[in-house]
């Protein structure tokens, strides 16, 4: 069975204006809308399109998180994933631990392709995909804006600073999705009903033999400084003068 594994993470919905807790110990999550990480939705959409083109037989979606993360897995199933794996864990999982959990799931599922979002919009770490490829000792192609598959390879176009770069990697491989890879579908309402009956397997974190011990210490969270009010300039000359004055131009 040709299987794609898609890793997803629950994050604060991208429409929510995030507030920092007054004591700086983190951000306010009580009563805040939670959703699938948008990059992970793009990853899932790509997996579904590959399957719909006949490039895969099954799409399995996996997450690590507390019990009520099932909601986001149901959303992923409603989008079209065939099965869901839920590694139940309360508390923070750093990218390395996340990658180790995903590696265990790879052992279990034997996918020919793993697609993840390039990063989660909560911590913006952008590490899990890269770490997973290293642990798995398989190729990686990150920041994908286009994915084309052959029987044994993936041609992945990546968005890099200088423009577009195309890589060809042997499968199995890890691909991480960038913003312009696709536009995820909106879920059809009957599929939300059908998703209730799709298989969702819960795996206790403790059974996987992965340590969740923190390796990074979070010191403080603070909101970004308020943006200064801009100024209006009449013409280019005034603009250049203003930039010089601030040392932005020599």
């Amino acid at each position: 069975m040709k299987r794609i594994l898609v890793g997803v993470k629950r994050v604060i919905d991208f429409n929510v204006r995030v507030k920092v807790k007054p004591d700086g110990s983190g951000i306010v999550t009580d009563g805040v809308k939670l959703s699938l990480n948008p990059f992970d939705e793009i990853a899932l959409e790509e997996a579904l399109r590959i399957k719909e083109r006949g490039g895969a037989d099954e799409v399995v979606v996996a997450t690590i998180g507390p019990a009520d993360c099932q909601q986001q897995l149901r959303t992923a199933l409603a989008m079209g994933a065939d099965r869901a794996l839920h590694v139940v864990h309360e508390g923070t999982i750093e990218p390395l631990a996340g990658a180790r959990v995903l590696l265990k799931l790879i052992d279990k599922e034997q996918p020919f392709l793993v697609i993840l979002g390039k990063q989660a919009i909560d911590d913006d770490n952008n590490q899990t995909g890269q770490m997973l490829a290293a642990l798995w000792q398989r190729p990686q192609a990150t920041f994908a804006s286009k994915v084309e598959l052959t029987d044994s390879t993936a041609r992945v176009t990546r968005e890099v600073d200088a423009g577009l770069e195309t890589l060809e990697v042997d499968l199995p491989a890890v691909v991480t999705a960038d913003l312009r890879l696709n536009e995820p579908r909106y879920v059809k309402l009957p599929d939300i009903m059908k998703a209730k009956k799709k298989p969702l397997e819960s795996l206790p974190f403790a059974d996987l033999g992965v340590s969740a011990a923190a390796r990074v210490k979070m010191v403080r969270t603070e909101p970004p400084a308020q943006r200064q009010k801009g100024i209006m300039v009449k013409d280019t000359q005034e603009l250049i003068a203003a930039l010089r004055k601030r040392g932005a131009l020599q």
Binding site: V187, K188, P190, M193
Partner: protein, 381 residues
């Protein structure tokens, strides 16, 4: 919210609205052009089966969830809601009152959106006083022959099947005892007259249906027994009123959204107009109306879902929410000032769409009478 899935459903609707509905609203409204592309999407989304039972292939949504869907869409553009709402009222008449054979035959096709339509009650000379309709159905062996004209029928041009209120016994006393509801599919003797031109609620076909010797098999009589039509239609209207209330709330909410944004961007006397108390008072009233309308709708829908009589609650919701739509769209115009009068902004559309909510599905004057009668009935001295 009753079910976890309902949150997902509303999420999905919001996404669809932002991606597909809002961007095309202005063009289709101004051109008065039917949004064919939205119909296909609504079908895929499952909206034509929103309130139809799951056993018939529908989603089986409660009136509460349904009303929230309607509000969400109407907050961007009210008109497309009519495409599935009239259809669902027709379906509700069959689901609540039809025979087992009728339900099995019609509901799956309604739920999938393969067969779409609406409900035909209003006539040129009978709207609020529905018992004064003149369309008749005469029994002739195993068929009925229908003659008459219906008007203001939503989906009249693009729909194929309609639940049509007729008199099977024009001489009956009381008048409603002679009324029946038939399912009519377009065909010989059933044609569509002109598409009506309107102030707002554009892009959606409101049309005249003309019946001239239209023959239907006797098994198209909903419930299989003559004389039940008025009661069947009136119950459909309870859901219809909750829906119109939800549309009014949507317009009120949409107008508030636009006003709230504009008031923080537009500056007069050196500061955003949202800093002026004159504007703040308006925004506060607008937001309060939206919340109050939503709560009244929630209460009416909960009562409808429990199967209790809800004409007082649905009437109050419809009355308040539709007036909220009118007031908020006008207040949004005042906040927008001159730009509100420009067709390059959406406020003028909200302003044109809103008054229909006060008139349609029973005028607000009629709602007040229904509310008062129920008040008196429930509180006798």
């Amino acid at each position: 919210m009753a079910r976890r899935e309902d949150a997902d459903i509303l999420d999905s609707i919001e996404r669809w609205v932002e991606r597909e509905v809002r961007p095309i609203a202005r063009h289709h409204d101004h051109a008065d052009e039917y949004p064919h592309e939205l119909v296909g999407q609504m079908q895929a989304l499952g909206l034509f089966g929103a309130t139809i039972g799951e056993e018939y292939g529908g989603l089986g949504l409660s009136a509460s969830t349904y009303a929230q869907i309607v509000t969400t869409i109407a907050a961007a553009w009210m008109a497309p809601v009519g495409i599935f709402n009239s259809h669902l009222i027709m379906a509700a008449c069959v689901e609540r009152h039809g025979t087992a054979a009728q339900k099995a035959h019609w509901l799956p096709r309604f739920a999938s959106g393969e067969l779409r339509g609406g409900i035909g009650l209003t006539e040129p000379d009978a709207g609020t006083d529905l018992q004064a309709i003149r369309t008749v159905a005469r029994r002739d062996g195993e068929t009925y022959v229908i003659d008459g004209t219906k008007t203001w029928i939503t989906n009249g041009i693009h729909g194929e099947c309609f639940a049509v209120l007729v008199k099977t016994d024009p001489a009956a006393v009381p008048r409603h005892a002679g009324m029946s509801l038939f399912l009519c599919e377009k065909g010989p003797g059933f044609t569509v007259g002109r598409k009506l031109k309107k102030l707002g609620y554009k892009a959606i076909d409101s049309a005249e249906l003309v019946f001239d010797g239209h023959r239907v098999p006797a098994d198209r009589l909903i419930g299989g027994v003559e004389g039940q039509g008025f009661v069947q239609a009136a119950q459909g209207l309870a859901l219809g009123r909750i829906n119109v209330a939800a549309r009014g709330a949507g317009i009120a909410q949409g107008a508030l959204r636009e006003a709230l944004r504009y008031a923080q961007q537009r500056k007069t006397f050196g500061k955003p107009i949202a800093q002026h108390q004159a504007i703040q008072l308006k925004l506060a009233d607008m937001a309060t109306r939206v919340e109050a309308a939503r709560l009244l709708i929630r209460q009416a829908a909960a009562k409808y879902d429990s199967g209790e009589r809800c004409d007082l609650e649905a009437g109050m919701a419809k009355l308040f929410a539709s007036e909220a739509g009118v007031e908020n769209s006008l207040e949004a115009m005042r906040i927008f000032g001159g730009y509100s009068y420009s067709t390059e902004f959406d406020i003028e559309r909200f302003y044109r769409d809103a008054p229909l909510m006060c008139i349609g599905e029973g005028t607000n004057e009629m709602q007040r009478i229904i509310i008062a009668r129920q008040l008196l009935e429930r509180n006798p001295v």
